[in-house]
């Protein structure tokens, strides 16, 4: 009897999360579409007109967290109202790259979000589609966002710093001041931030982005590193406490943490420059739902979605029609800042990544 009771309790505990599903509302599809499309621009509305995606399921590979929230609020409802189902495949870019390459003859993913630094490679290898104006919003993108796929949002790699230690926003060369030795937070390698930091060091030391020898030597001057950050909470906590005075960080992250009450500020360096970072939406080649994938892309690039990115996580709009104001405009890569970003040779970086990783491990991480 006790065993039976035990089994029953176990089963009911297991079933709880399974049965806790959502409820369906009974409203007409036109109403649902109108509700989901609220605030959408005319271009996107026209593009989606009379589209019916019943019995189609779109698979989208994307990051989790706030990005997922934004997507679920701004893109998914408009597609679901037109009968589509959407599955989000959450994870890091590496996992996704692996999946689309392995499945390149028979893809299960339709939309894949990548970073600027690997998207060109994927496109050149014929794994993702070459972008084009079959998506109306493509023509509205800044030219800098028409690379390797559909640029989703701009960010800049600049300097996050503790304002108590700097009188004015620092430039890259200020990180090398003797008083900050051992107090500069490092990004990890490989990764956009790490590659960009290495390039900046190389440019500072030799004026040449490709001179990795000079770059590594320059980076060694900053060591020992108090932290190689993977976790932003920790980075900004240490920055607030003064264990780290500054670190190369992507603009949006720094602002988010300022909002969370951390003692940080962000500088857009002008000497050498702020390095362009970009999330890129790619359409997987030979995907099963081309029409639905196009609709997703149009919605993602539409001002409604782009504005939500800019306002909530300070990921700057790539659609030139988006208008930002005040503080949001200041904190995002927006307006003239778009043209000031410097671009790196990511294809070259990818080619040398294997050797550079080994060097980074030996000459930076394990440098004594």
């Amino acid at each position: 009897m006790r065993r039976v009771l035990f089994v029953l309790v176990m089963l009911s505990l297991l079933c709880f999360p399974l049965v806790a599903g959502g409820t369906t509302e009974k409203t007409s599809s036109a109403d649902r579409i109108a509700k989901a499309d609220e605030g959408l621009d005319q271009q996107t509305k026209d593009f989606l007109e009379d589209k019916d995606f019943s019995n189609q399921t779109l698979v989208v590979g994307v990051w989790g967290g706030v990005i997922e929230d934004i997507i679920r609020e701004t893109i998914v409802p408009s597609l679901e109202a037109r009968g589509a189902k959407v599955e989000l495949l959450l994870g890091g870019t590496g996992d996704r790259m692996a999946k689309i390459y392995v499945e390149r003859n028979n893809p299960t993913m339709d939309i894949c979000y990548l970073n600027l630094y690997e998207c060109q490679q994927a496109m050149n290898d014929g794994v993702t589609e070459i972008p084009g104006n079959k998506i109306p919003a493509y023509d509205d993108l800044y030219p800098q966002a028409q690379i390797g796929g559909y640029g989703m949002s701009f960010m800049g790699l600049g300097i996050a710093y503790n304002p108590d230690f700097f009188d004015s926003p620092p430039e890259w060369k200020d990180l090398w001041k003797p008083e900050y030795k051992g107090k500069i937070g490092f990004p990890t390698y490989p990764g956009s931030e790490g590659e960009a930091f290495l390039a900046i060091a190389a440019i500072l030391a030799s004026g040449d982005e490709y001179n990795e020898e000079a770059g590594f030597q320059k980076l060694q001057e900053l060591l020992p590193a108090p932290l190689f950050y993977t976790n932003l909470d920790e980075l900004f906590m240490m920055m607030t406490k003064g264990d780290i005075v500054a670190a190369p960080v992507i603009s949006g992250y720094a602002w988010t943490y300022l909002d969370k009450g951390m003692n940080v500020a962000f500088s857009w360096p002008t000497e050498v420059g702020t390095v362009k970072m970009m999330d890129v939406l790619t359409i997987v080649k030979n995907n099963k739902h081309p029409e639905l994938a196009d609709a997703w892309t149009q919605l993602a690039l539409s001002p409604r979605t782009q504005k939500a990115y800019a306002e909530r996580i300070y990921f700057g709009p790539t659609n030139s029609k988006v208008v930002l104001e005040g503080e949001v405009a200041e904190r995002n890569v927006y307006g003239e800042k778009v043209d000031r970003l410097i671009d790196l040779d990511w294809l070259h970086i990818i080619d040398s990544r294997s050797e550079r990783t080994l060097r980074w491990n030996k000459d930076v991480v394990e440098y004594r």
Partner: protein, 286 residues
């Protein structure tokens, strides 16, 4: 029992292993001889030894290898030392109370590496629980750096894998005949003497079984060293991840893993033989 019957019993598991484990592994061996094309997962299928020669061309790989083994050995020894007092305590309880305590002591395993790591992170941070506590009591002047050091990684590994040792150890301690203790005491042996000449030899099979589990878990751990080591402590798991997932050099990461497995195989085989020897002593019937 006839050999035919034994094969029949082994067959389902063996089949599953061949299909799900062996074949992907063979694919890896094939991959390890292919040429890496930077930035893609499409490797050039022409044959090359380069991935293997690279392993021997740079002392860095041996450094990682050595560090991995060192961390695993230290962690396993620490687990062994910590698990004895607790296991003896647990085995001396009456069955009902012990059950509850055994249940509690397996929690670090059931909770999983993710939760443990999060907890340690909070405690070991520069301004985490432990440092705040020690600073508050004026025991230390400056925060101790735990994260990003081998010490931090070892603390995490030891805590996560302790239950793996406690379970087999308690079961072998309980199997020891109480009368042996009684007679040892009657003969005037003091507790430390009893511990070293009765408890340890008789519980060795359990300790060995646990030690092998813990050792291997440490060698191949990934979540703990990557989060508590903060990228500063490269061990086998973190480096394989870096090569495979971040650099996406599948051919090299395959050869790296194969080399690691082959050399580890030797160590583990030796441990297994040792464990078998100990078991033989314990149950002569085998």
């Amino acid at each position: 029992m006839k050999t035919k019957h034994v094969w029949a019993l082994v067959m389902p598991a063996l089949l599953l292993f061949v299909l799900i484990f062996l074949v992907p592994f063979l694919l890896l061996i094939v991959k390890s001889f292919q040429t890496y094309v930077p930035g893609t997962l499409i490797s050039d299928s022409s044959f090359t030894w380069e991935n293997y020669t690279q392993l021997f061309s740079d002392g860095y790989y041996f450094k990682i290898y050595y560090r991995t083994i060192r961390i695993a050995v230290i962690s396993t020894l620490a687990v062994l030392v910590l698990s004895y007092p607790l296991s003896i305590f647990l085995s001396s309880m009456n069955a009902k109370v012990r059950g509850v305590f055994m249940t509690i002591s397996i929690l670090p395993m059931i909770g999983g590496a993710m939760i443990q790591t999060m907890g340690w992170f909070a405690m070991l941070m520069r301004y985490g629980t432990i440092n705040s506590f020690l600073l508050g009591l004026h025991i230390i002047k400056d925060p101790i750096q735990f994260l990003g050091t081998e010490l931090g990684v070892i603390i995490g590994l030891v805590q996560s894998f302790l239950p793996m040792m406690i379970y087999p150890l308690v079961s072998s301690l309980l199997a020891i005949d109480r009368e042996i203790y009684d007679s040892a005491r009657t003969l005037g042996a003091r507790p430390p003497k009893i511990f070293f000449s009765v408890t340890i030899p008789l519980s060795a099979p359990g300790a060995m079984a646990g030690a092998i589990l813990v050792f291997m878990a440490c060698l191949t751990s990934f979540v703990t060293p990557s989060s508590l080591g903060q990228g500063k402590i490269q061990v086998f798991g973190t480096y394989a991840y870096q090569q495979a997932i971040q650099v996406m050099n599948w051919p090299f990461s395959s050869s790296y893993a194969i080399f690691f497995i082959l050399s580890m195989g030797i160590v583990v085989l030796a441990l297994n033989l040792l464990a078998r020897g100990l078991r033989r002593k314990r149950c002569g019937s085998m």
